[in-house]
């Protein structure tokens, strides 16, 4: 298997930038425009910090290339990390949705190999399925215990990990 160089699509990054700037403006504008009661100001400032962190995270994503290879997944960027498949010691696949019926959400894969930083990628990344499949194979080879939610999410993507069927 040759290496694949992946990145987040431009439209997904722009959507996140708009969210981050929109949220920061909504929380920050009242602080600039009105004399605000102290504790209300603290709540708004906390909201502003969340959106500022979200903006930074989006910026880091924009500057990061993910290189998927047969041996490892490397996040090449300002906050880079490398996850080696044969040393994988953590894998979590979560599904998030902001809708009440949990439709229209996104998956997030968190993987880490011994001694490295955790790499988190969202399903909007190109070839997300291939990365998850590769991670699942590595988890199977390493006999890693996966959480109930991770197994359910893998099944929903049509990926099964031997030895990780419904057990108690």
């Amino acid at each position: 298997m040759s290496s694949l160089v992946l990145s987040y699509p431009r439209h997904s990054l722009w959507a996140d930038y708009i969210r981050a700037i929109g949220g920061a403006v909504l929380c920050g504008l009242p602080l600039l425009l009105f004399p605000v009661e102290r504790w209300i100001g603290l709540v708004l400032a906390a909201g502003f910090v969340v959106f500022a962190l979200f903006f930074i995270r989006t910026f880091l994503r924009q500057r990061t290339r993910y290189i998927l290879g047969p041996d490892a997944l490397a996040a090449d960027g300002p906050w880079g990390a490398r996850v080696e498949w044969d040393r994988l010691d953590r894998m979590k696949l979560a599904y998030y949705s902001t809708k009440r019926d949990r439709s229209g959400g996104w998956m997030q894969l968190a993987i880490r190999s011994a001694g490295s930083r955790t790499v988190k990628i969202d399903s909007s990344l190109d070839c997300f399925y291939d990365i998850v499949e590769q991670a699942a194979l590595a988890a199977q080879a390493r006999d890693l215990e996966l959480s109930h939610a991770t197994r359910a999410n893998l099944r929903s993507m049509g990926i099964s990990v031997a030895g990780q069927e419904e057990t108690v």
Binding site: E37, I40, A152, S156
Partner: protein, 332 residues
């Protein structure tokens, strides 16, 4: 998770704005305003200057401006903790709501804690002892709780307390502490008086939650993985706690957001019956007299608490059980 938190927060802000706008406009919709009833009262007393005073009062409350101007003026004031003047006593709304808001939050929090604690214990017991005496008793209590209106239970308890025990269980503190600053004795008195309202307001919520938890847990306990675990010789406690209980508990977490508005709206009539100095009775009177600033402020607080409750429940659910639901759309 940061992505999730940011998206949820971003939904929260316009939601609160829209709720505040709708609430303010709806309270303003009936014909007349809060001055109308005051003037009618003055006219009925034969006050010749009543009509002249009407213009003064309208100017004082800002009713001579358009509803949009008043709304944005009120909304701007919210950031400064200034909710304008109440028509009822011509005092600032923040002076009226201070202690009532605090007592309401304390009472509703105790009620929600009561609902969770009692329904969790009884719900788990009823599901794990299906068709036994305890299960039938829990179901009976559950149906009783659902069938009896809260205010009726309050009236019955008031009667029983007075006639059989000679105690008055109305109010949220002993009379000597009313209008007095907060002190340790006052806190103790509030804690003692909280018991009855908590039980009265929490009964129907508890009954509903017991039924839901029992049904969910029974569903989980009949699944294949539980049978497998039992066949493998797992202890009943470990078998219960490891997966079925974790899955069955999701509605508990998901209900945090729904519970709050239910408890607040359900407590209004009970608060009137039990003479509780909470937001409910004041909200009722504010709505009757079209005291827009006071009513909109109360309802904004309920909306804020509800939206925060929803946010907490969504964050907890996302952290506890980040599974995709079959039938929901998958990836982006």
């Amino acid at each position: 998770m940061l992505n999730y938190v940011a998206r949820r927060l971003l939904l929260m802000i316009p939601t609160l704005f829209v709720i505040s706008l709708i609430v303010y406009m709806i309270i303003n919709m009936p014909p007349g305003d809060c001055v109308t009833s005051q003037i009618e009262e003055l006219l009925s007393r034969g006050d010749a200057d009543a009509l002249a005073r009407a213009d003064e009062l309208r100017a004082l409350y800002g009713l001579d401006h358009s509803v949009w101007y008043r709304y944005f003026n009120w909304l701007g004031g919210v950031f400064r903790w200034d909710f304008g003047l109440s028509c009822q006593d011509t005092v600032p709304v923040k002076a009226l709501i201070g202690e009532r808001l605090m007592l309401t939050i304390v009472m509703e929090s105790c009620t929600i804690l009561f609902i969770w604690t009692v329904s969790f214990v009884i719900g788990v017991y009823a599901a794990t002892h299906q068709y036994q005496v305890g299960d039938y008793a829990a179901s009976f209590i559950g149906f009783l709780g659902l069938a009896i209106p809260n205010f009726l239970l309050a009236l019955v308890l008031l009667y029983v307390g007075k006639v059989y025990f000679g105690v008055s269980i109305g109010g949220l503190m002993d009379p000597e502490f009313i209008e007095k600053p907060m002190s340790w004795d006052k806190v103790v008195s509030i804690a003692q008086h909280l018991v009855i309202p908590t039980i009265v307001i929490g009964t129907s919520g508890t009954a509903g939650m017991i039924r839901r938890l029992r049904a969910n847990l029974l569903d989980e306990l009949q699944k294949q993985y539980v049978v497998t675990g039992r066949a493998k010789g797992l202890s009943p406690f470990k078998l219960l706690v490891k997966y079925p209980l974790r899955h069955a508990i999701n509605p508990f977490v998901a209900d945090i957001g729904h519970l709050l508005p239910e408890v607040v709206s359900g407590s209004v009539i009970v608060s009137v019956v039990l003479s509780l100095p909470t937001m409910g009775p004041m909200l009722l009177s504010a709505l009757k007299t079209q005291d827009v600033n006071l009513a909109a402020t109360f309802l904004l607080f309920v909306a804020v608490l509800t939206v925060i409750g929803m946010l907490i429940s969504d964050l907890l659910l996302a952290a506890l059980d980040p599974r995709i639901r079959f039938g929901a759309a998958g990836e982006k």
